[in-house]
Amino acid sequence: MNNCTKFGLAALLVAASAAAPVQAETAAPLELVGYVKLEKVTTDPSGERRVEWVEPQVVVPGDKLIFGTQFTNRSQAPIESFVVSNPVPPSVSVAQIDPAVLVSVDGGKTWAKLADLVIVEADGQRRAALPGDVTNIRWVLPAIAPGESGRLEFPVTVR
């Protein structure tokens, strides 16, 4: 199990080995890699249920995936006002959302924390927005120090 499955706010500042080699200053200052991981559930001989996140092989509706973006500051200068905008593809449904992150449920027109958003149904009924309603996600990080890297992830289900 890799460390992207160590969730929770406590993981926000997990110190890790210098996985990112220092590169020449001519390289792009910001390295960005998008990835998708597939939940694979296995049951070991003792009956223990094990969940692994693997490279997606076969993906069919109902499968659970992690959408993620890995970033690394390759430059010698700090990066400021780091804003990641991530539209949610229509074919997947967000399974869970960090209550602190900004999301949109209207295609990016308005942004708020999920708990502050309401959905107006076709019949006029209002209800609290659910993770599955999220259309866009936005992370804002004030600063990334030189050499620092991290991941931004969210779990989805293929519709």
């Binding site: 460390n3 992207c4 499955t5 160590k6 969730f7 929770g8 706010l9 926000l12 997990v14 890790a16 080995s17 210098a18 996985a19 792009a28 910001l30 960005l32 998008g34 998708v36 969940v51 997606p56 076969v58 993906v59 069919v60 509706p61 109902g62 659970k64 959408f67 973006t69 970033f71 430059s75 200068a77 700090p78 990066i79 400021e80 006002s81 780091f82 804003v83 990641v84 905008s85 539209p87 593809p89 074919s91 997947v92 399974a95 869970q96 959302i97 960090d98 209550p99 992150v101 992370w139 050499g147 620092e148 890297s149 991290g150 991941r151 931004l152 992830e153 779990p155 289900t157 293929v158």
Partner: protein, 342 residues
């Protein structure tokens, strides 16, 4: 340094699973759909906006094959011996995320009382009931995602079948590739080996039906015909009711005596009502029919003799014909007539 910005509580596995459970119907995203997750980053270095950076990852949704066959008719369709065109209706539903063809077959049980004959499958013309406008088929062509097609298993029932016998069968649907319209595609199997991230693989995800297993691309649904027949028993008795010597007191079968013949038609309990019942009897030689003596729709008295009934029936040459009213389950009707011994 590595930082992990992730959503809280992914580790709370069970709660998340509940949130993520997907409906059983509607397999949703079509096979071949390309899903791309794109993140766009805006940032500053030294207070200056930098060129935005985009990262994405793409995969293609594979083909998830799921199908179900549901019997619409009751569990035991009532038929009569000799009935033609007995019908069991089924709905065949494509729950896959792709258009598929479905091969259909009827498999008769060997553990039942009899097999039906002339078994055919018809595709409903859209009105939901079997009629002359339906199409004889062996497969369903190009069934789109989530579409359900009504089909009819139609067969004939042997005249020799008897009340309470049953003929069991399954309608078996096998998923085939959609292929080109009008042609049954190849049987679908789960794609072996590793995935091609940009290709469409096949995953069989169907459930177990009658005598088939999970994930085999086949779904069987059972149905049966149960024979509901009349079960008639006919008994003929005779008694001497009068002779020229003893009159009606202990009469004997001597020349000149009158004999009453009693024919009782009984239908067993639980059987179908018998209609158009007609009793015929050829009068033996040495007997002379007593004109006007035929009584129909009578009953048996406690001694097993015919009693009651109405005038009716006819005689032609020496054959007596006595039509009876419908004989319901558990009911007995009689025909009686008299003749004199020559």
């Amino acid at each position: 340094m590595t930082r992990s910005f992730t959503f809280a509580a992914l580790a709370a596995g069970t709660a998340m699973v509940a949130l993520q459970s997907v409906p059983a119907l509607a397999e949703g995203t079509s096979a071949g759909t390309v899903i791309t997750n794109t993140a766009t980053v805006d940032y500053r270095v030294g207070g200056i906006d930098q060129t935005e950076v985009v990262a994405s990852d793409t995969f293609e949704v594979d083909r998830k094959i799921n199908l179900i066959v549901t019997r619409i008719s009751g569990p035991a369709v009532s038929v009569s011996p000799g009935q033609t065109g007995a019908v069991i209706a089924f709905d065949v539903t494509n729950l896959s995320n792709d258009t598929i063809d479905l091969a259909l077959a009827v498999i008769q049980s060997s553990a039942d009382n009899f097999d039906v004959d002339n078994v055919r499958i018809f595709r409903d013309d859209g009105n939901g009931s079997f009629d002359g406008a339906d199409t004889l088929i062996t497969s369903l062509d190009e069934v789109v995602e989530d579409a359900s097609v009504r089909v009819f298993v139609v067969s004939d029932v042997s005249l020799s079948s008897t009340n309470g016998e049953d003929a069991e069968l399954v309608l078996s649907a096998t998923a085939h590739s959609g292929g080109s319209p009008g042609t049954l595609g190849a049987v679908l199997v789960s794609t072996p080996g590793p995935d091609d991230p940009q290709g469409v693989e096949t995953v069989l995800a169907d459930g177990a039906g009658e005598d088939d297993v999970d994930f085999d691309g086949v779904y069987n649904a059972p149905g049966s015909f149960t024979v509901f027949a009349a079960s008639l028993n006919v008994a003929k008795t005779s008694r001497v009711i009068d002779d020229p010597v003893n009159s009606t007191t202990n009469p004997k079968a001597i020349p000149g005596a009158t004999v009453e013949y009693c024919i009782a038609v009984s239908n067993a309990a639980g059987a179908a009502t018998a209609s158009n019942v007609e009793v015929t009897d050829v009068l033996p030689g040495d007997l002379t029919f007593v004109v006007g003596s035929i009584r129909i729709n009578g009953t048996l008295d406690g001694s097993g003799n015919c009693t009651g009934g109405d005038p009716g029936g006819s005689i032609a040459v020496r054959t007596i014909t006595a039509p009876l009213s419908d004989v319901a389950a558990g009911e007995t009707r009689t025909a009686a007539f008299r003749a004199a011994i020559n």
